[in-house]
Symmetry: C2
Subunit: 573 residues, 2 copies
């Protein structure tokens, strides 16, 4: 591609409306152009990147045995009524009335359509297992579309749906897709994690999200440094830090007149926050359904995890206790609460880490006082109820026993899901099994946000000069820049020859023959993130060299022609 | 591709709902599956064909210098109001209200969006000429969607839009796209014609439709056997058949008591229909806007062309005359009318062919009688008004003076159009010209119905056994069929080896290892239209040969391995 024949249109201005770096850089680089809220046109430059992602996804899906189809974007209401989602899906479903007053939607996902396709196409177990996928435009009517293509309303998605006679078959295909997603993101050159996910209300038996790691990611992920374990921080199991030490201090009362938080108490006492225990007063229900006052204990540096807490018996709909309830049960005000000698009818739930503590500090249940040197089994009974009720933090042992957890932020770009038989049952999809009996197939679904990957990759790969694409996603792998071609025809010729050699060698190369001044040209090429830049100049030619620079290198090098080809070809393998 | 791992799902039944052969065959072959009225899912088989068309279109557009973009399907109402098309476009525009009660449409075309894109992207003449295209899903809310993907509501289209400072530049790009379309349809292996088209109300200065020729086509096309000339029959100029012969008969009155049509009169008199003249009584308006009675004369075997007639002075809104008006002006009833001695105030318009006739037959303006041996200048005045007012017919001289016209039926699959400045003006798109002055660019637009091409190709290429794809559109170029692989492992091995050789040679091949009986297998492969079929059987292997058959050949041949490879490779060039 000669850039003089390509519509490259960068901007020096930083767009005011963009809140995150990928949105800013995509607008500055001219990759996208806003049409309306959450609707973007992909420019020639942007589309080159999008197509590279699309191609990698398609090739890996094909290699994994999935079969491509193409379903309509517009879907009839009747199918969505069969699964009850016409109402349940909510405001994100863009509903459309056609000229005959029939209702449709712009599909945000295709479970209904593929299940309808399957009940027409699939009749026998011999046709299973099968995995149909498509790469297709979706629409979700976000209340607040933002962040450019990161959360657009219209977006490009790869969605796959598999059908199986047995759960074991579904499990195998789930693993196949899990592995395939790993190959896709690895091939795209992205740092990512497969994260164990909550299956939520849909209730499948397994689900993983694939996150591209980036500091700006919306989700916090706990991952092991010694294994593949990764989970959303809120879902990651927080295990005990190890065995409890022996008691070494005496129980004593500490004067804490205004110190109501663990931080303040620790500061006053000059001890580590990890020596303190937070007591959170809540109200659940007892076996008879009556309100039950409880204290949830977590270490001072830990945060209670509401999801985990709500999974305990009687706490499905727990609430924080009122001050009156607290005073009634503990005789003190919030800020001075603790599990030692609770007055009456108090359920005490200790986080695993708290159960492993010795010589710790808690509120004294007396206004203005805390207790220090507290020890289980001596100053109060061994905890009756020990549970995982906190968020995992960096440094925790990995729940799988291998390594320790780190915390990273991630952007969800893929999701694999065992749907089970929910949709097949709702839409009466059956096939004959090998005994001739009708059976309801199990289904899996597997999504990748193709257009979102482009933005996520930028969040992960950028610097002050602009985007620094992984090689597989770059609009071009290499750009040959010509300096002042009009001064010396030999420069233009040498640049063209080098460019043609690169193309012949299978490199996706461009020739920047736009005739810009070097500064403007280099700024463009850095902004749009091309991995390899080669500069052809009169001076360089005289010395028999080209100036080569990798996008991530701090300095340029002067290389001869062979070295340039080797460098780019080698890196483009 | 091994068919045992591909979801091929043909049907023996002929679908009752399909009216045309392409729709029938696409359903029988399992290429598409109906989701709702005018909405189709492309199965794995159908999508393979669709993608081949898409790829050919994309590669040729790129080679022609057009640059690919991707615009949203959903478009805001505001843009359509700028051009006035929100109301004018009519019922085909699928209007959508989002959750914030803002109006959008599912784009049936993208003139508004690309012009909006251009007014943000294009600032200077230096960026022009430029031609942006996309291959994208469109929606037109047809009143009566039918014929499968031939007239679906949701469909895949390639639409391109070019921008130019001068009309001359537009003309050059128009010719470039015209030539590119020719290359695309030639590459796809389709018989087609570029047809001069009416620019209709949009009023561009040039427009051609590209038609795939097929007996079932909706449009009749007149084309020259001696040049590239082609036009819709209704638009093709009908030239005079040649100089008028000298009069050789006497004027005489013929008794035609019940013969009111040219056909009946010619039959009664035992003469050719080409000797008779039809007189059509119409009412237009005179120079003062008052109703003016007129006779339009065409040869008995010709049909009046209403479009051409309406372009004559005073006939823009002409209507057929009532019987009372006819009796008032001509003194006779319909069926016996003619131009000889019209009673009063009758405008006579003779088609060019009529003006060239001698010794012809017309109504006598007397009930029950016709006149024969009529000659211009002797029995009535030379025609005062001679014009082209009929449809062209087969055998007419071509209007460009080269060859004679034939008539074929066609299916419109492409359209190139000089839009001029209509959209740019409405949406205030300007660029600075080389003098620094703001100027409004001229635009061209160029569409191809990508999904429609698939159906049109089948209309042109089929037989009793099914589809007979042109090589470039076939789901696979070649299929290797294995007969009874379980009887003899050597057969399965030889088939696999042959299949792999074909793939290595760059042939898009499939291996039919589904284990079907030969009859069912061959019927499938013929139905889905694969050009090259090779059968590997125990008997063949014993004789050192494979059974080869081209889809269009009447018989199979036994060839050795080398000959098979040469045959398929050679044809697949």
């Amino acid at each position: 591609m000669r850039l003089s024949h390509f519509h490259l249109h960068t901007s020096k201005e930083t767009p005011a409306e963009a809140e995150i770096i990928s949105h800013k850089l995509m607008l500055k680089a001219g990759m996208i152009r806003k049409l309306a809220a959450g609707l973007y046109t992909w420019s020639p430059l942007g589309l080159r990147v999008l197509r590279k992602v699309e191609r990698a996804v398609r090739e890996e899906m094909n290699a994994a045995g999935a079969i491509e189809v193409l379903m309509p974007a517009v879907q009839p209401k009747e199918l969505w009524e069969e699964t009850g989602r016409w109402e349940k899906f909510g405001g994100q479903l863009l509903k459309i009335k056609d000229r005959k007053e029939a209702w449709y939607c712009f599909g945000p996902t295709h479970e209904e359509v593929i299940t309808d396709f399957a009940r027409n196409e699939l009749a026998s177990y011999k046709q299973l297992p099968v995995n149909f996928y498509q790469i297709q435009t979706k629409f979700r009517d976000e209340i607040r579309p933002r962040f450019g293509v990161m959360r657009a309303r219209e977006f490009l998605m790869k969605d796959a749906y598999s059908f199986h006679v047995t759960d074991a078959d579904l499990g195998r295909e789930y693993q196949n897709m899990y592995d395939t997603y790993g190959r896709i993101f690895t091939r795209l050159g992205l740092k990512f994690r497969a994260v164990f996910a909550d299956t939520g209300a849909i209730g499948g038996s397994a689900s993983h999200e694939f996150h591209v790691l980036a500091d700006s990611g919306e989700d916090a992920i706990a991952f092991s440094d010694g294994s593949d374990y990764a989970a959303n921080v809120e879902l990651a199991e927080a295990v005990s830090p190890g065995p409890r030490a022996a008691a070494s201090e005496e129980l004593r009362k500490v004067d804490t007149p205004t110190q109501k938080t663990c931080e303040d108490v620790a500061a006053l006492m000059g001890i580590a926050l990890t020596r303190t225990v937070k007591s959170i007063a809540i109200v659940g229900s007892d076996a008879d359904g009556k309100p039950q006052f409880a204290l949830a204990l977590v270490r001072g540096d830990h945060a209670v995890n509401e999801i985990k807490l709500s999974k305990l018996t009687g706490l499905a709909e727990y609430r924080l206790a009122t001050e009156a309830e607290i005073v009634e049960h503990l005789g003190a005000q919030p800020g001075f609460l603790g599990p030692v000698k609770p007055v009456k009818n108090v359920r005490v739930i200790a986080d695993r880490s708290v159960a492993a503590m010795a010589d710790f500090v808690v509120g004294a249940n007396e206004n203005g006082y805390h207790l220090a040197g507290v020890n289980w089994g001596r100053d109060l009974a061994e905890p009756a109820e020990v549970a995982d009720i906190r968020n995992a933090v960096a440094g925790d042992p990995s729940p799988d026993g291998q390594g320790r957890l780190g915390i990273a932020r991630g952007i969800e770009v893929g999701h694999v899901f065992q749907l089970g038989r929910k949709y097949a049952e709702a839409m009466k999809l059956t096939v004959l099994d090998d005994t001739g009996k009708a059976t309801t197939p199990a289904m899996g679904c597997y999504g990748i946000g193709v257009s979102r990957i482009v933005a996520a990759a930028i969040e992960q790969n950028h610097d002050d000069a602009g985007i620094a694409w992984p090689e597989a996603m770059a609009p071009w792998q290499a750009v040959v820049c010509v300096i002042n071609p009009k001064n010396d025809p030999a420069v233009a010729e040498a640049a063209l020859a080098l460019y043609q050699d690169l193309v012949k060698a299978g490199v996706d190369a461009a020739l920047d023959d736009r005739g810009l001044r070097p500064g403007a040209m280099f700024a463009d090429i850095e902004l749009i993130g091309v991995p390899h830049r080669v500069v052809v100049s009169e001076r360089g030619l005289a010395a028999g060299s080209f100036e080569y620079r990798h996008r991530r290198a701090s300095e340029a090098e002067n290389l001869d022609r062979g070295a340039v080809l080797a460098r780019i070809g080698g890196l483009s393998q």
